[in-house]
């Protein structure tokens, strides 16, 4: 999949957590686990591991938890 599209999607999820920053990373992580196909998660993990160009900070943090 186009990584730019996945980055836009995860950033949109992150942007919608702006009102609750304390829980944002948890929510994003949970969302990715519940709604993203494994190949999408694998791709965003790989992108994050290469620096995560374009990813919001909360998105990167959430993906880092996915990798654990």
């Amino acid at each position: 999949m186009h990584i730019e599209r996945l980055v836009e999607m995860i950033n949109d999820i992150a942007a919608n957590q702006v009102a609750d920053p304390d829980n944002a990373v948890d929510v994003i992580t949970s969302h990715l686990k519940r709604f993203w196909d494994p190949r999408m998660r694998a791709q965003i993990i790989a992108h994050a591991e290469q620096g995560g160009v374009g990813m919001a900070a909360e998105a990167k943090a959430a993906v880092a938890r996915l990798s654990l």
């Binding site: 999949m1 186009h2 999607m9 919608n16 009102a19 609750d20 709604f35």
Partner: protein
């Protein structure tokens, strides 16, 4: 003409707790207080002659045929307008009454063509019946006097004829148009002998405001208003109750038949969703089912650039299974998937998701709800705990305030709109939140108290502003919140929504809605009594669709407008079975009953029942499938009854993805746009050709009953069974009722549902189980499905799609009354007479600055693509906003829409596309390519016939 198999009790039922007992012709009768004498008599099996009365309309008392005698009362009161009272003694038949009735009938018959034997209503004409009932043997006045017998027919409507010569001016049609439909297209013009039914101001029916709902035709006691199908084919001989396959209202109809031929569809008086009413689509637009374009033989081809080859079902299924196996062997088990259809039955969607999960071995299943109401599922699950609307349609009768957000009920859900209009005319207040001036804003005898004409894409900001007023002006129902909602979540939300950034004075610049109007709406919603929200795709099809749904639920929670009749959060579902297809586990992350695939207990339950290992990871959503197709990891797709090439956004992206796949299996009635990219075509079956159930927007499960054999030889569920068996996973069902039995065994909210139970109750609103054995009209009465209601934080995040100098206008899309979604059905009916092409609505100001006049061809260009439509200059849209429908593939409405989607569900943002509009003289490059491709595909289809000869 009323349905051939229904009786008529003369006047509507009265819903009163108090009963009264009276005597009619010596028989003791007990009825609810307020019941008419006519109905009371009918309930006792005593027929009182009548002409102007029918039980779908309030009594009128004009024909003077239903006169009775009541002991102690002077004269002969009309039984239709006289309420039954305790102790009354009523006589319906004696010599005096018989003479009066004969005299009345003599007058009627003296001015009526006596062509009964060749009349389309012969045998089902109430005038004819009454002549017999009163014993009319002669007409003393003769027939040579002045009369109306030579008046011309109005045959302008494609579905029915108005033969004025047969009209008795009973006003039933006029009253049906006003009181049932709410259109007021008909009136009685002239006075005395000149009185006559007039459509509009002496216009033809087609030229008038008539919306062809059929209520007048059904109400007509003679052949004055007759279906052309009955005139042409004669009267039906039996009827079968079934459910409409158009919108999410899910109207109950009687299919009136001659053998296996549908003569007409008549709304069932017992229909619990539609209460005897219908619209132009369900009532008349069923001819697509037998249209010559139907493809009734399976076809295969190796490449989309080759002609089709007609084959047997066995060969087509074997080929499809072989391709799926080959692709899975080569690219992995996750390289294939399926799409269920909201136009198919619950049982069929259940089977397709079962096929994908059990036979394909993955969770790559999705449904067209992805592109319409997936945010409803997400948002209501988060806040209330269940992915469904909270009320029955009947609930609107108890509403004091009706808020319509991003929906156009008179076009999208017309039968429910009529119910809503009836309530508004009775005094309920209306709030409309919509960028367009939809018909409900101002129509005969209905005017919105408020129309918040917001800028597209700013729903969340506006809903938050309403919530801000409710909180800061202390309009919260504190007792409800304390008892029914999570305290910490409410406090957090209260703090969030109280922020100054949500004040209407702050959001005004974003939404374009004056602060004072927002404050007035908030006060009305919070304090106006029972307040109900009805919303549509104008809420969900945004980058923040899910957020708006949660914001709407927040409003209802904060004001205590949940858990009883007259209130609630009501998504108006687009297609007939969108609710059902979602209920049946069509989403890639959920099993039937909205249980996540990672939930071990649920997965174990299904593994045991299905005898296979099931994947615990979510699969691909439809837009993800397209992306994966383009990167090569997704190579085959089984599409049942869905036209993604026309309906999904960013058409060129979608068609590129379809072209990239190695095997697309389409099961449909017609060679739709998606089928043009297919390698296997399996003939689909219409709703008339199979048994099953649909679930409408109010969670009502209704029976679909087979009235004719499948034209292609198999019902859709049978084709899915065959494909599954060919893949090595045999499913053993001999009838759809057995599929529903399995659904009930595995899904707690359906535990009490069976075909037998539906037949017994008429329909069932889920949840239906041991606690609610007759179903649940109103949800969340004592507790929410999730226990306590949860307020969710709803920050406004502007869409990425912005207007600028290059794309200065915002395009929004929608649908119209006479056409239905991609138009595959309605375009193949006479409904196209009302809407023969998609047009671009543009405000006069925007048109003038571009030199565009009504009817001009205009190019509409977005960041995604360009298409050309004719302009309709209209003040229905505000300056800066343009609007179009998407019913014709050549329009290319979705060539323009973008890949932006809801953050939570990937529901496309159809409602906000930045565009430029310019006057042009030629079709767009895409339209030229489309025409060439379509012509080629049509040729391939035509050559199929040649090859098979």
């Amino acid at each position: 003409m009323r349905c051939i198999d229904e009786s008529d009790l003369g006047t509507p039922a009265v819903n009163a707790a108090e009963l009264v007992t009276l005597t009619i012709d010596g028989h003791s009768v007990t009825v609810p207080k307020g019941t008419s004498l006519m109905r009371a008599a009918a309930l006792a099996g005593i027929g009182v002659p009548k002409l102007c009365a029918t039980d779908s309309l309030e009594p009128f008392g004009s024909c003077r045929l239903c006169l009775v005698e009541v002991e102690g009362m002077k004269g002969t009161p009309a039984s239709c307008t006289t309420p039954a009272a305790a102790g009354m003694k009523v006589t319906t038949q004696n010599d005096r009454l018989a003479t009066l009735r004969r005299n009345v009938m003599e007058l009627y018959i003296s001015d009526h063509p006596l062509d009964c034997l060749t009349c389309p209503a012969n045998g089902h004409c109430e005038l004819q019946d009454m002549a017999g009932a009163v014993g009319l043997r002669e007409v003393r006045y003769g027939y040579a006097g002045e009369n109306h017998c030579s008046l011309p027919k109005d045959e302008s409507n494609p579905y029915f004829t108005f033969d004025a010569s047969k009209c008795i001016v009973c006003s039933r049609c006029v009253r049906a148009c006003a009181d049932v439909q709410g259109t007021f297209a008909l009136t009685i013009a002239g006075r005395g002998f000149d009185s006559h039914v007039s459509a509009g101001v002496e216009q033809s029916f087609l030229a008038s405001d008539c919306v062809s709902c059929g209520a007048c035709v059904q109400a007509c006691p003679t052949a004055t208003l007759s279906e052309k199908s009955i005139i042409a084919r004669g009267q039906p001989e039996h009827s079968v109750v079934t459910t409409c396959a158009y919108c999410g209202v899910g109207c109950s109809f009687r299919a009136e038949m001659k053998g296996a031929e549908v003569i007409r569809m008549v709304p069932s008086q017992d229909g619990q969703a539609n209460r005897g009413h219908s619209c132009v689509k369900g009532r008349f637009a069923f001819g697509y089912a037998t249209h010559p374009d139907r493809i009734t033989s399976p076809m295969i081809r190796a490449s989309i650039h080759e002609p089709w080859r007609e084959v047997s079902w066995e060969e087509a299924i074997a080929h499809a299974a072989s391709e799926l196996k080959r692709i899975q062997a080569k690219y992995g088990k996750d390289a294939v998937g399926g799409i269920t259809s909201s136009r198919c039955t619950n049982e069929e969607t259940y089977l397709v998701q079962k096929l994908v999960r059990a036979a394909f071995g993955n969770n790559n299943v999705d449904t067209c709800a992805r592109v319409c109401h997936s945010p409803t599922g997400y948002g209501l699950k988060q806040t209330l705990g269940e992915s469904a609307g909270t009320q029955a349609f009947d609930s609107v009768e108890q509403a004091d305030v009706i808020m319509v957000i991003g929906a156009n009920p008179t076009d999208g859900h017309p039968v429910f709109a009529s119910r809503m209009i009836q309530r508004l005319r009775a005094g309920a207040k209306l709030i409309v939140i919509d960028p367009r001036s939809i018909d409900l804003v101002r129509m005969p005898h209905v005017a919105a108290a408020h129309h918040l004409k917001l800028k597209p894409g700013t729903n969340v900001a506006l809903v938050n502003a309403i919530a801000h007023v409710i909180v800061t002006e202390k309009l919260v129902d504190e007792a409800f919140v304390a008892k029914r909602c999570e305290g910490p979540a409410f406090e957090k939300w209260k703090h969030f929504i109280s922020g100054d950034e949500h004040a209407p004075e702050q959001t005004e610049a974003v939404t374009g809605v004056p602060a004072a109007d927002v404050r007035a709406v908030a006060r009305l919603y919070a304090t106006g009594g029972n307040a109900a929200i009805y919303y549509g795709l104008g809420v969900t099809e945004h980058s923040q669709g899910s957020t708006t749904v949660m914001g709407i639920a927040n409003l209802a929670l904060a004001t205590g407008n949940l858990g009883r009749e007259g209130v609630g959060v009501n998504p108006l579902r687009g297609q007939n079975n969108v609710q059902g297809s979602c209920d049946m586990g069509s989403f890639p992350h959920e099993f039937p009953g909205y249980r996540h695939v990672s939930d071990s207990a649920t997965r174990i339950l299904f593994e045991a029942a299905w005898g296979v290992h099931l994947d615990a990871e979510p699969g691909l959503r439809i837009p993800n499938m397209f992306e994966a197709a383009l990167d090569g990891s997704f190579r085959a797709l089984y599409v049942q009854g869905e036209d993604i090439a026309q309906s999904d956004p960013d058409t060129q992206h979608v068609t590129a993805a379809l072209e990239a796949m190695e095997c697309i299996i389409v099961q449909d009635l017609f060679l739709n746009e998606t089928a043009k990219f297919a390698h296997v075509f399996l003939p689909g079956s219409s709703f008339l050709e199979k048994d099953g159930t649909f679930t409408n927007a109010e969670r009502r499960i209704s029976r679909v009953r087979k009235v004719m054999p499948p034209l292609g030889g198999k019902a859709d569920w049978e084709a899915t069974l065959a494909l599954s068996a060919a893949l090595g996973y045999a499913m053993h069902y001999t009838h759809p009722s057995e599929i529903m039995d399995e659904i009930a065994r595995l899904t707690p909210s359906f535990a009490g549902v069976s075909f037998a139970r539906i037949d017994e109750l008429g329909s069932i609103q889920w949840p239906c189980n041991d606690e609610t054995p007759t179903g649940t009209p109103t949800m969340h009465e004592e507790t929410f499905t999730r226990g306590l209601g949860r307020f969710m934080l709803t920050p406004y995040v502007p869409t990425h799609e912005r207007s600028n100098d290059k794309y200065p206008l915002i395009l929004t899309t929608g649908r119209i009354l006479s056409q239905y979604n991609v138009g595959a059905q309605t375009r193949r009916t006479s409904n196209s007479l009302w809407h023969e092409e998609d047009r671009l609505e543009i405000h006069p100001h925007d048109a003038e600055t571009r030199g565009v006049v009504d009817g001009d061809w205009v190019g509409i260009k977005s960041r995604a693509g360009e298409t050309v439509l004719r302009a309709r200059v209209s003040e229905a849209v505000q300056p800066g906003v343009v609007y179009t429908t998407f019913h014709f593939p050549e329009s290319g409405a979705n060539v323009i829409t973008t890949e932006h989607s809801d953050w939570a569900t990937n529901c496309p943002e159809y409602k906000v596309t930045a565009v430029q509009v310019v006057k042009v003289t030629h079709p767009s490059a895409w339209q030229e390519r489309y025409r060439r491709f379509s012509d080629e595909q049509k040729k391939f289809l035509d050559e199929r016939a040649t090859l098979s000869r």
